[in-house]
Homo-oligomer: 141 residues x 2
């Protein structure tokens, strides 16, 4: 039964000014491998996913593609660094329902479409020690 | 053959002011489970490890136990938030050797003893988009 449980940590998202430079750095220094690149127009970002040799948690590099991008604003205000942590959940509606009942402040009250058919929602950083947390439910197979 | 490869993301460390409150929050809101608590005197912290239902990457909560703790200074300067990301490596000496050759700035030139018989070292945040990265090699079984 799905209960809105956190199954695993899906990825750690890092805001960068130049995604090609960052890719090279993470590949060369950390030996990570780029597995996917995409442009997410509605969030105004170019994204690259990088994986380790064996772990299931990945690194997501994010570069803004316009000044309206939340990542652009993040870079202006705080500089490069970790932008959010994404938890994979088994059932995002149940998770959000439970969080609301617990009084956890949400940015998205309901799920919205993410990349590759995922459903995603962000919790408010004020709720969790200043950390922006994304929940993502993968599409059913 | 071990080449100083990043095997997986071991944990994401979060600096908090009150570890009991944070544990409760992460257990209740995110459904994580505390699997280990310890005091690391030489780093001046109390640490709690929390895991998700199925993922191998964990969350490490860190509360300072004195004003000399790097976590105390972090909290004073930046407030609560993500302190570092730890990558599990197959061979920490090889990894540090390679990083040095690549001109990556290190905080620890050689490995030092971590918890539970691990060998650990920190890279300089300037080297990687402002992110503090720890490498950890687990003891041989």
């Amino acid at each position: 039964m799905n209960e809105g449980k956190m199954v695993s940590i899906s990825h750690i998202a890092i805001a960068v000014r130049n995604i090609e430079d960052a890719e090279k750095l993470y590949e060369t220094a950390l030996g990570l491998k780029v597995t996917r690149r995409e442009v997410v127009e509605e969030q105004g970002v170019r994204a690259s996913m990088l994986e380790t040799a064996a772990g299931d948690t990945t690194i997501e590099l994010l570069e803004p593609i316009g000044q309206n991008s939340p990542i652009y604003k993040f870079l202006e205000k705080r500089g490069e660094g970790i932008h959010h942590i994404c938890f994979k959940v088994d059932d995002i509606e149940s998770a959000l329902e439970r969080l609301k009942k617990q009084g956890i402040k949400l940015i998205n009250e309901g799920p919205r479409p993410g990349v590759d058919g995922t459903k995603v929602a962000f919790l408010h950083p004020k709720a969790l020690n200043g950390i922006l947390i994304e929940l993502a439910e993968l599409p059913k197979e």
